[in-house]
Symmetry: C2
Amino acid sequence: MVTNGTYERGDLFDPNCGTRLILDRIGDKWTALAVLRLQHGPLRFTELRDGIGSVAPKVLTQTLRRLERDGLLTREVFAEVPPRVVYDLTPMGRSLIGPLTAVSDWAEEHINAITTAQGQYDAGS
Amino acid sequence: MVTNGTYERGDLFDPNCGTRLILDRIGDKWTALAVLRLQHGPLRFTELRDGIGSVAPKVLTQTLRRLERDGLLTREVFAEVPPRVVYDLTPMGRSLIGPLTAVSDWAEEHINAITTAQGQYDAGS
DNA sequence: CGGAATCCAGCGGGATACTG
DNA sequence: CAGTATCCCGCTGGATTCCG
């Protein structure tokens, strides 16, 4: 597996390495979901909320604000009545879809095996 | 982007879908790090702990036990004095390295852009 | 409609001390 | 060495209510 002498390309042991920071971010409960929901085009707040499940509005707002702050999505407000706010991924946000999908695919493929393994482990195997 | 009618291959809106479950798992503070540290071969408890940073032993144990329960790593105990315990990835655990590396690579590539975006956002841009 | 404000509980995670 | 046993804190995330 190790063809050259390099370890993880970064410094995983360093708490400030990129991987740690990003993992803390997309590892939270809704971030990855929000990004994946937006991969097919812009959505409004309510569409996002309904599509994702039962997220408290406060929590969804937090998630979206963080993503906006990180430059991964844009938030466009239309001064209308009733108000309309549209969220969309930035190019950088879109570039995250690939890696995220890789993990998601892996999850779908192995979720059954994992559940089985858990059952055996709990059975005192 | 949507060439056919399918959304995410799973049912992301279902709290019980694989992606959600896995993300909750590898999204925690140490799991992904532990897996990545083990990609080059088996390690002992202390080697894992020293390599990863400052993890409280209790927390590292929790992480490793969960991974063992999920069938992602093996825990082999040698009845010696002093005791020796070796952790190693299972084939399934090894198959997670790819997706994890994809995310990790993305993180290393974009961490600077993200930090910059945060700075601008905080500047009230 | 798209939040903001408030309150709150749980638990993930850390520090420390001890043990087979 | 490789944990276990306690204690404890903060923060994430949830429920609810109200507002422009």
